[in-house]
């Protein structure tokens, strides 16, 4: 057994337990996007950052990939953690604002505005689908391609993989697209869970049922394209 302290609370965990598991076991909320029980930890979304170490050796690590160490001091919501987490959410919002999951995250962490140029990307490359396909479906039909800004998920050369059984597991685990707001068509919109925020759309008649998080309104922005 390994003894460590999380937010000042001492706990014993088995060897190999990750900091995320330990923190959640104690009931500390740690947000995640790329993590999923049953899949290998990947550490791509960086939302689960926690602070470890003391003095000059304090650093942030992704709790989903970091194994518990003897005597480690972990802080799940220090000022430094929150600053990084908010910036990550702001970056997510700037790139994929139409995702319900991301809107809710923003709402929960009190991120009310993003300051970058607005983009509308469907994928945050969290890799859940890739790992689902490989680890649970044993197919390896899809994978990462390219690197840096050209990174994407798909099959080699976009040829449909013979391994793919069209199981839909990839779609099922997607944290971003499964509840995407359908913006301009009010009857299809599922967005509306963020009523706790001030919303420019509310004033517009055709969006009576729709409440979009963004300011300026994403729905209005997106119709321009």
């Amino acid at each position: 057994m390994i003894t460590l302290k999380i937010n000042g609370l001492e706990t014993n965990v088995e060897k190999g337990t990750t900091l995320l598991e330990a923190a959640r076991f104690l009931g500390f909320p740690v947000p995640t996007l790329c993590h999923m029980d049953g899949l290998h930890p990947f550490g791509a979304c960086r939302l689960c950052l926690v602070e470890i170490g003391e003095g000059p050796r304090i650093k942030l690590v992704s709790s989903c990939t970091y194994p518990a160490e003897e005597g480690l001091h972990v802080r799940t919501a220090s000022r430094r953690v929150m600053r990084a987490r908010k910036m990550i959410i702001e970056l997510l919002l700037a790139s994929s604002p139409q995702s319900k999951t991301i809107q809710d995250l923003a709402s929960a962490f009190d991120v009310k505005q993003q300051r970058f140029r607005q983009e509308f990307e469907d994928c945050i490359l969290c890799g859940r689908c890739v790992h689902m396909c490989e680890e649970q479906m044993m197919a390896k039909a899809i994978g990462f391609r390219g690197r840096g800004e050209n990174r994407s998920i798909g099959t080699p050369f976009d040829v449909q993989s013979e391994e793919c059984r069209l199981c839909g597991g990839c779609m099922y685990v997607c944290p971003v697209c499964m509840l995407r707001c359908t913006y301009t068509e009010p009857e299809k919109a599922i967005c509306g869970g963020c009523a706790n925020l001030s919303v420019p759309c509310i004033e517009k008649e055709q969006f009576d049922d729709v409440m979009c998080y963004m300011e300026p309104c994403v729905a209005c922005e997106i119709t321009k394209d």
Binding site: A44, P67, L91
Partner: protein, 1058 residues
């Protein structure tokens, strides 16, 4: 090749090889590395071989091809032995002469390295300044060894360390040695190598262990690892065998970039040789230790230099970092314990063992022992690979080894550590080079890239460049690294295009800090360094991009337009008139000049031509277009009356008073008059012209030219009142009482700064302005006998050359505290003074003024030497002890700097106008308003002594501001970027013709004709010369003005070239 099966056999081999090697043998050593190959080394080697064979010199001279000699910029290079001479830029034509010279124990003088600044010739390699301050332990070996001949390595102590380790050291002892040596990882992070090895040695080894050489060198501009692998692959192999022995590893991998074909080739040959000789493989040298090395070629992803990504790449997976722990030492390649060290670290091992750890630890500083190889590149005189002891200062590297700036421009910063590193400004150049100091300064050691940057480098652009690199080279796994680098690039790109805001800067910094904090691997954690370090040290430059929409380095295209136009304070479209001259359209050229500048003929003679300073023809490595000479050509040729300025038909009621009829005051008066204002100009002297008239000597600027130009500006709206001075004859209060609605002060800076030495008021000592004014205004010849002039600026040269032309003068000497290169005066003026026989004594500081009967008699001085670089980027003069001497002089002119007249400050203050502590009038930079409403100020009285064109520019701006003020409009103008607007069709010229033409010189009348009189020295260009010079222009404007159809046509016809 014999396979060695015991230590004794190896020892016998050493004996045999080393006895046969003879140092007195004649040798010619040619560098055969990629750098020199690129400049033609292969052909030279072929020619040399042929020459040796044809002349049957095989027994006389040995021809050897070795690794890099270091001075890559001067390649191809050759060294001779036993002379030790260093030949640079060798060609196929002269290699035979070098061979003959070696045989005759002679030198080929013109191929020896000559310092471009001092002109000193060097006969020996180690005397050359580039090599002098280096400590070349690793490199020295490299230039002795033919990398593909293992016997060459043997005869240079090769595998000695291996012998020592196998014969007398246990693995623990080897690790102890490496620990004692203090060697830290040369890959950049600086983890102690001995400690790393110990961790690996302590791992259980049932499945085997790996040692890896990381040769995935990806920093732009860095190539020291390549050079080591190409030049001395056996040293890496030896290091790795010792490392494996110490840690009981049985497998070795060299991970090298696919784009290093020569390194791979040499490594393959070296590995085969080592294997054939029994130095690698099963039971090495008959012991029970087995170890072999294989090569893995990387496909060139930058991130694969990170150890966990490198491991995955070796395993055949996508190079993507993973979480540490577990560290590679615990779980590395295929789950087996692995140690990864950089090429340079491995190359150091044999030296440590041979030299002894304690001895090695003495090199460098405590905690940072040994030497470090840097690839020194950028805007520097000597580029190449250098090896220096740790703890050497950046100053020493950049200025002593690197020789300082490549051109005239000042060095601004150095970038270390590649894309993960940061920029260190010149003010921090006394920083010692070691892991900890660099990290503290916001950079990193990295693997040793060192890029020197000068004023022509834009820091925003540098950050943008690295971010562009990183956003493509990030593996993309961590969201913050992938998106963060993209977003940082986006913001930097906006700023470089003038679209940034100050909030963007804060956001950029916030984001950079989070990216640094929140990513998994070293790439992401250091990706922000280029942004953070430039923001920290060069924030003002970022702000200039944002607020003033100006890129001081003239790099950011969207802010710069044509550099000549942006460089001109008055915004003259130099490219436009140069283009017209090339087409022979002289009148249009004149109009282009006159539209921006009411004093074209004056500026054609005395402008400091900032346009030329930034000319792309120069900043890209050639010589600037002689824009000022072209302007002179036009103004001499075209009748000014062809330009009819646009006059407003309105009549403005509010009268304006302008105090001072210099270039600033007259410019304002002219532009206000065009708008219909009634302007009264008050001038203290008897003539208008201000500084043009008082201080600029007539041999540079004939009085006729000034008068003509001023007359053309005066019209019925302008009343000129001479011989009335502010303070003594009228006050500002009075002007307002007399009904003037706005007042502009443009009285210039008319007082020289004193030396602040005792007896400075003695007879025969004059401040330069007083001296020049006395002559130019009143015709008094104050200088007599032997004249000394203290200073190195234009004012000093003017005074010296004017003194030379006075009747009682015997000789003139200029005394300056630095060297001629640092003199702020225009180079052409210094040259002309020199031609006229003025002595220039440099590195002199005056200490004491000696008087006889109240009159000046001699000056006591001391000699200086140049010391360290100060914050201005110039070397500080440092007095040499006991070097005092005295100079007998009759007249002394002090020209060290100018102040605005102190006599003005009194009246200024009493009129409630604030002044600065530099005795200039305080204004709002944007509106030119002084602290008193309705009173503006411009020109030297605001800036201190400055150039004519700056005064004109300020005068133009003042006219706009006064007009707006009188109309009650907002004064703060939004800044607009001036981009070329008019399309002028270029003349078809053969690029080959143009590239061979040099910049045209300034035509001057002969020294005899001008030395003792005031005839104008400079003459105008001929029409042929002017056309040719104008056609050299690179036409930066076309990028903005060329119609789309033409661009597309070019793309089609020229295969994409423009």
């Amino acid at each position: 090749m014999i396979k060695l099966s015991s230590l004794e056999e190896l020892r016998d081999l050493f004996k045999g090889v080393r006895n046969s090697s003879d140092d007195s043998r004649l040798q010619i050593i040619i560098c055969g590395e990629t750098g020199c190959q690129a400049s033609g080394a292969n052909d030279i080697i072929r020619v040399a071989k042929k020459y040796v064979l044809q002349n049957q010199l095989l027994d006389t001279i040995e021809l050897r091809i070795t690794g890099c000699h270091g001075f890559c910029e001067m390649g191809p290079t050759a060294i001779t032995k036993p002379q030790g001479a260093f030949y640079h830029k060798v060609s196929t034509n002269n290699i035979s002469r070098i061979i003959d010279a070696v045989i005759a124990d002679d030198y080929v003088e013109e191929l020896l390295y000559r310092d471009p600044k001092t002109g000193i010739k060097y006969y020996k390699q180690e005397d050359i300044p580039f090599f002098q301050k280096q400590q070349r332990t690793i490199f020295k070996k490299k230039q002795e060894i033919d990398p593909i001949r293992i016997y060459d390595y043997f005869s240079n102590d090769g595998y000695n360390a291996l012998y020592k380790v196998f014969s007398s050291l246990s693995p623990e002892q080897v690790i102890e040695e490496v620990k004692v040596s203090g060697l830290r990882g040369r890959g950049g992070a600086g983890f102690p190598t001995g400690l790393k090895w110990e961790l690996l040695a302590n791992q259980p080894s049932k499945d085997g262990k790996y040692v890896v050489c990381n040769a995935d060198e990806g920093d732009p501009g860095a190539y020291m690892d390549r050079s080591l692998l190409e030049g001395n692959p056996h040293s890496i192999i030896e290091g790795m065998i010792i490392g494996a022995y110490a840690t009981s590893a049985n497998m070795g991998v060299v991970y090298v970039r696919h784009e290093y074909p020569l390194a791979i080739k040499h490594l393959i040959i070296a590995l085969r040789q080592a294997r054939d000789m029994g130095l690698l493989g099963e039971n090495i040298l008959g012991s029970d230790f087995s170890f072999d090395i294989r090569i893995v070629k990387g496909a060139g992803a930058f991130v694969c230099g990170e150890e966990t990504a490198l491991i995955r790449s070796i395993e055949g997976k996508v190079g993507e970092p993973r979480q540490r722990p577990p560290y590679p030492v615990q779980k590395g390649i295929r789950g087996k314990p692995t140690v990864i060290n950089n090429v340079e670290t491995w190359a150091n091992i044999a030296f440590i063992i041979n030299m002894g750890a304690a001895e090695y630890a003495k090199i460098g500083t405590e905690g940072n022992s040994g030497t470090k190889i840097f690839s020194l590149v950028g805007k520097i005189k000597n580029t190449g690979l250098i090896e220096v002891p740790m703890g050497i200062s950046i100053n020493e590297i950049v200025f002593d080894i690197g020789g300082g700036s490549a051109g005239d421009s000042k060095i601004k910063a150095v970038q270390t550590g590649g894309p993960s590193g940061g920029c260190i400004p010149v003010s921090k150049f006394d920083l010692p080079i070691d892991y900890d100091s660099l990290a503290k300064a916001g950079s990193i050691m990295g693997s040793g890239g060192m890029i020197v940057m000068d004023e022509h480098t834009c820091m925003v652009d540098v950050a943008k460049y690295f971010m562009n690199f990183l956003k493509a080279e990030s593996c993309g796994k961590c969201y913050t690294c992938r998106k963060g680098t993209q977003r940082m690039y986006e913001i930097l790109d906006d700023i470089s295009k003038g679209k940034g805001t100050l909030e963007d800067l804060d956001l950029l910094e916030e984001l950079a800090l989070v990216v640094k904090d929140s990513t998994m691997c070293g790439l992401g954690q250091t990706a922000s360094n280029p942004v953070l370090s430039t923001l920290h040290y060069f924030r003002a430059e970022y702000e200039r991009h944002i607020i003033q929409k100006r890129c001081d380095a003239f790099v950011c295209k969207e802010l710069t337009g044509a550099p000549c136009q942006t460089g001109c304070p008055a915004g003259t479209e130099a490219w436009r008139y140069v283009a017209h001259i090339a087409r022979g359209e002289y009148e249009q050229a004149y109009i282009a000049i006159r539209e921006a500048n009411p004093f074209p003929s004056v500026c054609a003679r005395v402008c400091d031509h900032k346009c030329e300073e930034h000319c792309r023809a120069e900043t890209t490595g050639g010589e600037a277009i002689a824009i000022r000479s072209l302007k002179r050509f036009i103004t001499d040729r075209v009748d000014p009356s062809i330009y009819k300025p646009e006059r407003s038909s309105e009549i403005q009621k509010a009268p304006v008073a302008i105090i001072g009829a210099g270039p600033a005051g007259l410019t304002t008066a002219h532009y206000l008059s065009l708008q219909g204002y009634k302007v009264t100009v008050f001038e203290a002297e008897g003539n208008p012209g201000g500084m043009l008239f008082c201080t600029i000597p007539s041999y540079r600027l004939p009085r006729e030219t000034i008068n003509k130009e001023i007359d053309s500006l005066l019209d019925e709206n302008i009343t000129l009142k001479c011989n009335v001075a502010l303070g003594s004859d009228f006050t500002i209060d009075q002007l307002f009482k007399d009904g003037f609605k706005a007042v502009m002060i443009a009285i210039g800076a008319h007082k020289s700064k004193p030396l602040e030495l005792e007896n400075e008021d003695a007879d025969g000592i004059y401040p330069s302005i007083e001296f020049l004014k006395a002559f130019n205004v009143r015709g008094e010849q104050l200088a007599r006998g032997r004249v000394g002039v203290i200073g190195g600026g234009n004012s000093a040269i003017d005074a010296a050359r004017t003194a030379l032309r006075q009747k009682d003068v015997e000789s003139v000497t200029i005394l300056y505290r630095r060297t001629r290169e640092e003199m702020p005066a225009f180079a052409e003026e210094i040259e002309a003074a020199d031609q006229e026989g003025i002595h220039i004594q440099t590195l002199v500081t005056p200490l004491k003024i000696i008087t006889r009967n109240g009159a000046f008699s001699s000056l006591q001085c001391c000699k200086n030497r140049l010391g360290d670089i100060d914050s201005s980027g110039r070397r500080k003069p440092v007095p040499i002890k006991d070097s005092e001497y005295s100079i007998e002089l009759d007249t002394l002119i002090v020209a060290i700097s100018e102040d605005s007249g102190v006599d003005v400050i009194g009246p200024a203050l009493s009129s409630k106008i604030d002044v600065t502590d530099r005795n200039t009038i305080k204004i709002d930079d944007h509106t030119l308003l002084t602290s008193r409403p309705g009173v503006f100020a411009a020109g030297d009285v605001v800036t201190g002594p400055n150039t004519v064109i700056d005064a004109i520019a300020a005068g133009k701006k003042a006219a706009i501001m006064i007009d707006r003020y009188l109309h009650g409009e907002e004064l703060d103008l939004s800044v607009e970027i001036k981009l070329p607007q008019v399309y002028i069709e270029p003349i078809e010229v053969e690029t080959e013709d143009i590239s061979t033409i040099d910049r045209i010189g300034i035509p001057r009348i002969s020294v005899e004709k001008r030395r003792r009189n005031f005839t104008e020295v400079e003459a105008a260009l001929s029409a042929i010369a002017a056309t040719q010079e104008a056609r050299r222009c690179l036409r930066c404007d076309l990028e903005f003005t060329q119609p789309k159809e033409i661009v597309e046509e070019c793309l089609v016809n020229e295969g994409g070239r423009r």
